[in-house]
């Protein structure tokens, strides 16, 4: 029987009368990695925030090392040895690595003078333990996201953390950074630390976790050792129904060339040429940094091409801004919806019509609000967007529903060409399938779709053709019938396929 370092029993949490956690039990075992999974809104973050003292529980018990504890602030949980590494890292970008590790706990001498040498020496020690040879005097903004993640871990270790909670730690990491992170996580386990690993990426969970706890709608579905589970079973537990097929494929008749890119070159991409046909989904695969997002944004007019040509329906077009792109029937769904996809402080109506407001202008230049409402309601219905109403602010929607609104905004511009950049990033499993179904529907309606994705199963699941990029160039294009994970990866790392 494994020893529990943390045990949360019968946790109930209510926000102004709404129960978001209902009688949840959660255990963290000594020297083990516990996966915490569930769809967005299942209560994972709330549970972890209760454990770390951000929220107070409505009722229930928390035991740490067998002792009941009551954390009222994050400081108290930190002092006990619980560290929470958030998805959005909490580092001060303009301070050095060392200053970040010891922020608020700087070693000081007489008169409050900071002992810089000790601070940097100690920092170096922690970095070395994690296999990093970074200079602790380097500013955090100058190192990669993967390394920033390591700095957070170093900080946690320097706090003598027994329990480290990681929320979607690989979201922004490259493959090699992810591998490095896994090595470190495994080393931490060897050294006796306990880890909570929150992730949507099930393959990662199978790679490193020992146990899995699944939450759904604020309730505990179950806790199982990893050996007893497989991917399908976890998905079933998360969504509460059998997922016969995660990637619904539809075959349509592929028509004439709608978008043609010839020799597109700028500081991000080099000599990129491809064709996109009516009713076709062209998947764009590649590693992070291969220039896929930049390619989509160059076509959309965010970045300017230095040379090359873009043809829409056979005629060359000049696209200098997103406005020009939209005029030519090209819409773009951003990979980073909070940054540039949606306006969090606006409601569904205002977001849906933001890019197409010109179609809602009445006789005297005024916005026809009833027409706006009608269209928004249509999208809410056809895309089954879950919201309290069309006037709810986007900030209160789940990731999947925000993404649907972002998609609705694109569709409302009536595009012939849809550029989708990581269309299911940060979206839970159930909503993913709904988004695939929507993409398929638009394909059937004759839209041409370019889909950039880092998830190879997704690329294989719904594209008709796969284009792979490597360091700004197209390194290969494969028909879906011949595509598999291995071939895509080979092209993605820039090797020739034998």
């Amino acid at each position: 029987m494994e020893e529990k370092i943390v045990s949360m029993e019968n946790i109930i949490k209510e926000f102004s009368g709404v129960r978001v956690l209902d009688n949840v039990n959660f255990n963290i075992y000594k020297g083990k990695i516990m996966a915490l999974v569930g769809e967005n809104g299942a209560g994972k973050s709330t549970l972890m925030k209760i454990l770390t003292g951000v929220y107070l529980r409505t009722s229930g018990k928390v035991l740490f090392d067998g002792e009941p504890v009551d954390f009222n602030t994050t400081k108290e949980s930190q002092d006990k040895g619980i560290a929470f590494i958030h998805q959005e890292l909490n580092l001060v970008r303009d301070l050095s690595i060392g200053e970040n590790i010891f922020l608020g706990r700087e070693p000081v001498g007489p008169g409050g003078k900071i002992k810089w040498r000790k601070l940097f020496d100690d920092s170096r020690e922690w970095l070395t333990k994690l296999g990093l040879d970074e200079d602790p005097r380097e500013l955090v903004k100058n190192i990669s996201v993967g390394k920033q993640q390591m700095i957070e871990i170093a900080k946690a270790l320097s706090l003598d953390a027994q329990v480290i909670i990681m929320d979607e730690p690989t979201g922004a990491l490259t493959m090699s950074e992810t591998e490095r992170l896994f090595e470190v996580v495994k080393e931490l386990r060897e050294a006796g630390h306990s880890i909570v690993y929150i992730s949507h990426r099930l393959n990662e969970i199978f790679e490193i976790c020992d146990h899995v706890t699944v939450l759904r709608d604020g309730t505990l579905v179950g806790e199982e050792p990893i050996e007893k589970l497989d991917e399908d079973r976890i998905i079933e537990m998360m969504v509460g129904r059998k997922l016969s097929e995660q990637y619904p494929r539809v075959d349509t008749e592929i028509g004439e060339v709608v978008l043609e890119v010839k020799g597109l070159t700028n500081r991000f991409v080099e000599n990129v040429s491809f064709q996109l046909r009516k009713g076709e989904i062209l998947g764009v695969a590649g590693l992070v940094g291969a220039g896929r997002t930049e390619l989509a944004r160059t076509i959309y007019g965010v970045y300017q091409p230095e040379s090359g040509e873009i043809l829409v329906n056979g005629s060359p077009v000049s696209i200098k801004s997103p406005k020009d792109a939209l005029k030519n029937g090209i819409a773009y769904l951003s990979e980073d919806r909070k940054e540039n996809g949606i306006v969090l402080g606006m409601d569904l109506v205002e977001n849906v019509t933001l890019a197409s407001l010109g179609n809602y202008v009445g006789k005297i230049g005024n916005i026809d609000k009833s027409k706006e409402r009608e269209s928004t309601d249509r999208y809410i219905k056809s895309m089954s967007i879950k919201a309290a109403g069309r006037n709810q602010l986007l900030q209160f929607l789940s990731g999947g529903n925000q993404q649907k609104v972002a998609l609705a905004k694109n569709l409302d511009t009536n595009p012939g060409i849809l550029l989708l950049d990581e269309p299911t990033r940060g979206v839970d499993v159930g909503a993913k399938k709904e988004i695939y179904e929507l993409i398929n529907k638009y394909k059937q309606e004759g839209m041409s779709i370019l889909m950039v994705s880092s998830e190879i199963p997704e690329i294989l699941g719904i594209s008709d053709r796969v284009m792979i990029m490597h360091e700004g160039r197209v390194s290969g294009t494969i028909d879906i019938a011949e595509a598999d994970q291995e071939k895509i990866m080979t092209y993605a790392v820039g090797k020739e396929v034998s």
Binding site: F15, S16, Y300, V302, S321, P322, K323, A325, L326, K327, Y332, S334, E339, N340, G341, I342, V343, L344, G345, M346, D347, E350, L354, A355, L357, G358, V361, G365, N366, I367, K369, K409, T413
Partner: protein, 322 residues
């Protein structure tokens, strides 16, 4: 956003959503006990007339703050446009032409601010701090440091009516203020450019990605602030019968205070013209009340500062709680 409508809400909800109104009511009730002259028709009219100038400037400021910017140059714009208007009136130019020309100058200055901020990529604070100082200097050069009288032609008296006249017992500047409120409210809530103003203030990137030329929105917003400052310049000059070279000094601060008391977020994206109207009236009543209670002018600023802080704190507290 459209907190203007009262339909389907009870008063309690309305007041908790609009803390500035609560502050205003408390102020009015307190003052009506402290002075029996306060709630007289003539005093109400006085307060509204005094409020009108700040209200017009603050409305322009609301646009700037809504996109996450600020316009510090409004006081200086008021001074230079007032001076130019005064000398044009004195030279006998047609009044309509004077008004159009003066507003155009405000427009050009506003566009200049907008260009510095959009194309020049300057921080709004820095850009308008620069034009504020520059324009104040130009005003002193233009006026030679002396007031310019509007009198000396047959149209002077008509022009002065803009500031001193009454219609149906209500001062002309109050009508101007109401018209400015209405047009601005309509623009922000019912026109594309208004929607884009909010969007730009909430998320500039997403607005740009939605195919909107964000630079144009910035130009528009600062142009509005410039035109409304020029309009205030006309009212002030007409009211006093002359343009003072130091007119409008510090007016930007009263305008910012009105906007912020009215619940507009300095970070942009959140705020209403209704709020700004309430904010301007609160400041107007404060000035009036402190004078009426014969508080020494030193203490007036202390009291004003305290009320501004209380109003903003109340609003902040409400927003944080959920």
């Amino acid at each position: 956003m459209g907190k203007f409508s009262l339909k389907g809400r009870n008063w309690k909800q309305f007041l908790s959503d609009n803390k500035p109104v609560v502050v205003l009511l408390i102020l009015i009730i307190t003052m009506s006990f402290l002075s029996d002259r306060f709630l007289t028709w003539s005093n109400i009219i006085t307060v509204l007339r005094q409020t009108s100038i700040n209200a017009v400037i603050a409305t322009g400021m609301t646009f700037a703050i809504l996109i996450g910017g600020i316009d510090l140059s409004v006081g200086s714009v008021l001074a230079i446009t007032g001076a130019i208007a005064a000398s044009l009136v004195a030279s006998g130019m047609n009044i309509i032409l004077v008004i159009i020309l003066t507003l155009l100058i405000g427009l050009v200055i506003g566009l200049l601010n907008g260009l510095l901020i959009s194309k020049g990529r300057l921080q709004p604070f820095i850009a308008t701090l620069g034009t504020m100082t520059l324009l104040r200097g130009l005003t002193l050069v233009y006026t030679q440091g002396r007031p310019i009288s509007i009198f000396g032609s047959d149209t002077s008296a008509i022009f002065s009516k803009i500031g001193t006249g009454y219609f149906l017992g209500i001062p002309i500047p109050v009508y101007i203020m109401l018209v400015v409120f209405f047009i601005s409210w309509y623009t922000l809530n019912h026109l594309k450019i208004g929607r884009y103003t909010y969007a730009l203030g909430s998320n500039e990137e997403a607005t740009m990605y939605s195919g909107i030329k964000t630079d144009n929105i910035k130009l528009f917003v600062y142009a509005v602030a410039g035109v409304l400052a020029a309009l205030a310049g006309i009212i002030v000059t007409a009211r006093l019968g002359s343009a003072q070279p130091t007119a409008g000094s510090g007016y930007e601060l009263d305008a910012i205070a009105a906007v912020v008391i009215g619940g507009t977020s300095m970070a942009g994206g959140i705020g209403t013209i209704f709020g700004t109207a309430i904010g301007a009236i609160i400041i107007g009543i404060l000035d009036n009340a402190l004078n009426m209670l014969q508080v020494s002018s030193y203490y007036q600023d202390v009291a004003k500062g305290v009320v501004i802080l209380i109003a903003v704190l109340l609003d902040r507290k409400q927003r944080k709680s959920r």
